[in-house]
């Protein structure tokens, strides 16, 4: 009788202990699950918030209102130079801070300006600004914006040449200081004005500059200068011939065989042919940035 009772008591106690242990295990499991769920929620929330915030931070670009006057292309990201009737199109992707672009400009500027003046080519410039990412700084973006400001008043090409002639070393971000860009503008007759200075200082074409770079990012071309002659890469080689003033002229003449040349306003042509200065005809499409 008594032993039976003892067994009953003990087993009751054991049962209670087992029960408690089971509960503890269950509680620990629950806690672990809660921690894992919390961690996953933290991660998911961070990612979602991050994507939304970064989306909001990327400036939206509206081709109708944000592009400088006279730009072309279906989203107006290209700066045209030269007569639009010219038989050959030279597409040039350049970053204002890119030293290889400066070398290309120094070596080829006279040739290109001559071809422009003869109505043999038109140029479409893509002003990229990715060097700021690689080397840090703001010089490329500031200079690209200043070039857009110059484009808006029909002085893009002259100012473009002045910038390359005065390019700082790649690692020196001199153009982070916008006043230097403004003082360089004084070398282009008729460019510097209170409106131009405000445009440079207020980064008025910032969203256009971002859109042009974004377009370059997606282009598949991954370095500057990228030069295309009628869509075929022409830098540093074209059909395995090295680029040079003589070769480039020959390539253009070859491509233009049998096609009528564009006529340019004679004043513009004269200015282009002179080695020191030339004028981009004032942008015909007025309005642009509002």
């Amino acid at each position: 009788m008594s032993t039976k009772n003892d067994v009953g008591k003990r087993s009751a106690r054991e049962r209670m202990q087992e029960e408690r242990a089971r509960e503890e295990v269950a509680a620990r499991k629950k806690r672990k699950l809660a921690v894992i769920l919390t961690a996953l929620v933290v991660i998911a929330a961070a990612v979602v918030i991050g994507i939304v915030v970064q989306n909001g931070r990327t400036s939206s670009y509206n081709a109708g209102t944000d592009a400088p006057g006279g730009t072309v292309g279906n989203t107006r990201l290209l700066v045209p130079v030269g007569g639009t009737a010219a038989p050959s199109t030279v597409t040039i992707y350049e970053d204002p801070r890119c030293p290889a672009c400066e070398q290309f400009e120094t070596g080829m500027r006279a040739t290109i300006n001559q071809l422009l003046a003869q109505g043999k080519i038109q140029i479409q410039y893509h002003i990229a600004s990715f060097i700021d990412r690689h080397d840090g700084g703001k010089g490329s973006k500031n200079a690209a914006n200043a070039l857009a400001c110059a484009q808006n008043v029909g002085r893009f090409h002259d100012y473009h040449d002045v910038l390359y002639a005065n390019q700082p070393q790649e690692t020196v971000d001199a153009w982070a200081d916008r006043s230097i860009l403004i003082s360089l503008a004084k070398q282009v007759p008729g460019l510097d004005s209170p409106g131009f200075e405000a445009c440079v200082n207020n980064n008025s074409y910032g969203s256009w500059v971002t859109a042009v770079q974004s377009d370059f990012d997606k282009s598949g071309y991954n370095s500057t200068p990228t030069v295309l002659l009628n869509g075929t890469p022409a830098y540093p080689t074209y059909n395995s011939q090295d680029i040079s003033p003589a070769n480039f002229t020959a390539w253009v003449d070859n491509a233009n065989k049998g096609k009528p040349l564009a006529s340019m306003p004679s004043a513009s042509a004269e200015a282009l042919a002179s080695p020191t200065a030339h004028n981009n005809p004032p942008a015909s499409a007025s309005g642009g940035h509002s």
Partner: protein, 149 residues
Amino acid sequence: MAASIGTAVRIGLAIVWAWAGLAKISDPQAAAQAVRVYRILPEALVKPFGYGLPFLELALALLLLVGLGTRIAAALSAVLLLVYIASIASVWARGISIDCGCFGGGGSVAASQTQYWQEILRDCGFLLLAGWLIRHPRTRLSLDGWLAA
């Protein structure tokens, strides 16, 4: 002893993720381009990944720093690192020249400027840290420890 080493490993990995994440958030356009140049994802996914990955890294940094869900955070870290290593290896194998953009930057570089070996070895080192924490998730000075007490 393992718990003390674990704390150092946990904080170390947290610093790695925080550094990697913070370096990528200032310029969303550059972060998207860093993803795009791998030529793995379709264009529609480039921006979500470019914008989202830095925040995934920051979330892992936060969890590891406070020691909440150390094992799951370490496991996700390991998965992410394996994805990174595989992506770099894939780019390398396809002969594309890029900067991995692991700690900001990224984008195309000249063929002579690639550092695929170093980038993969570095990520393998981080993978060891994550592996340690998966094996020994109990560390000192952690929320996990505080919740279990």
